[in-house]
Amino acid sequence: MLADRDSSLGPMKDLVLYLTDVAGPLRFAPYELVAMVAMLLFGAVVVFGFVLPVAGITSWLERRVWARIQSRVGPNRVGPQGFLQWLADGLKNLMKEDIIPSAADPWLFALAPYLVVIGFVATFAVVPFGDVLVIADLDIGILYITAVTGLVVVGVLMAGWASNNKWSLLGGIRSAAQIVSYEIPAGLSIFPVVLLTGTLSMQEIIRAQGWAPWHWFLFHDPFTFAAFFVFFVAALAEGNRTPFDLPEAESELVAGFCTEYSGMRYLLFFLAEWGNLYVIGAIVTTLFLGGWQVPPVTEHPVALAVFQLATFFAKAYFFVFVAMWVRATLPRVRVDQLMILCWKYMVPIALVNVVGTAIWMVVVPTSLGRVVAIAMTIGGAALVVIFFRRVRFHLRRARLGPADYYYSPFI
């Protein structure tokens, strides 16, 4: 199976070929073994060196960002600017007792965090960090992400049922209903991009775009533009984020499906939630914002890889920031509003986007399409300018004194 040496091993292929070459330092070792170890190392670097720190640091940054938005300070005691807060939280939870309530089903109760965490970590198998920096460039990439996210639903239902607690069961069922409902508009919003590229592979979708905004699918036509917003909102709802965090509505359900959880197992659900924010950002970046595409400034492979990695991270993390911003700003919606928003607004809009993009591809010639893309890019830039002018207008109207304008990123 592995004997096919032309097979893709991601970034490790050249290294493995070099190591096991007839003159390579590991020429005595079998190719399969070296390839396997290399893949394992790369996966471990991605998961432990990137996924876990990003999820942890996001938990600290989110509290700081909310605090700034709500004129508070936020965690600032542990380490410089409270940066080590996430490690302190982890250590604290490590010291806590792992309680499995006597009424709970012990096996399912213990198993549920595995499903939720695996469902989120496994998506990183296809998340591209750069042209060659991807663990597995599956040809069904985006479909794979949809599939493994299904594990989270099962994990949440399992946690809710196994806890044997009224809040947990209600929270778990609400959460599952919400996730599956919003999977429809999210899934439909992928289609405009799949129609344009004719592939499901994450890397091929990125390669079909360019570094310039007018080559992004976001500004390709009005339907992809709308699909982008539908997808982002649906993804937030799928990740149980405010304003859609009904399953964890503290005022109604204590802590939803994780009411009975404590210590490390409780932390793991939140690890998955924060890590999932980055996954949302990464998918949005891949589908609509050109992924790791960079202007052709360097030929050096390492420099290029670093540049692509930084570009992709900046774009994806911008959406993590937007999610924090939304959470700090908007109140929670009600259950009926949640369902109405999904089925009466987002599903029809998403269907129109799919059909609209297909008709657009048949009707609009390439030259006109290029003009539309540039016009839409200008329109998007104008929207950003108008937004900042509104912010300035409101700040002026508030007649703030010099002390109110005082702003430092470090407090």
């Binding site: 199976m1 399912l108 599956l138 040809d139 069904i140 479909l143 794979y144 949809t146 599939a147 493994v148 299904g150 594990l151 639903v153 099962v154 239902l157 399992m158 049922w161 069961l169 069922i173 599952a176 209903a177 599956v180 999977e183 499901l200």
Partner: protein, 170 residues
């Protein structure tokens, strides 16, 4: 190596499937079904049918399992056998007859089939494009009829689950 892997996954699938029918608790039985469906997806991957593997997980392990779990939790089924008295024995007898008939059928099928190497699949086999080409040319009519079937499912669900609304005056 490939055959060994296939046999391992297939054996695990059968074990998980046995868990589905043997576990007394309906929720755990449904969760065993999730495991079975995931392993079945792994079997599809080993057979180079990647697209089908992903769709298998999305539709069965994702959508249909959620419905199963909802219904089990909705009805609040317990561990104990709801059927008592004579009906229970009648049902058991019927189940035995059906099971033995199925086993005989399977045995006949296996006897008639020749087991050997399936040969290598052509390039692109099981990929999305190959599935699409046959679905939208050769099987167009069944595909369009599927939408009617889905429509019937929606209407049926609404009629069953929704209370008839009284006409309001406003």
């Amino acid at each position: 190596m490939g055959a060994a892997l296939f046999l391992l996954v297939a054996a695990l699938t059968v074990v998980a499937a046995l868990g589905v029918i043997l576990h007394p608790n309906p929720v755990k039985s449904a969760l065993f079904l999730v495991v079975t469906l995931f392993l079945l997806a792994a079997v599809f991957v080993l057979l180079e049918a990647h697209m089908i593997a992903a769709l298998q997980i999305i539709v069965y392990a994702g959508a249909i399992m959620v419905l199963f779990l909802f219904v089990i939790m909705l009805l609040n089924l317990r561990n104990d056998d709801p059927e008592r008295g004579r009906r229970r024995y009648v049902l058991r007898g019927l189940a035995w007859i059906g099971g033995v008939a199925l086993a005989i059928e399977l045995a006949l099928l296996v006897r008639g089939a020749s087991v050997g190497s399936a040969g290598s699949a052509p390039a692109g086999y099981g990929g999305a494009a190959a599935v699409a080409r046959s679905l939208y040319t050769d099987f167009l009519l069944p595909f369009e009829l599927t939408s009617i079937l889905l429509l019937a499912a929606v209407v049926g669900a609404v009629v069953l689950a929704q209370k008839q609304r009284r006409p309001t005056l406003s």
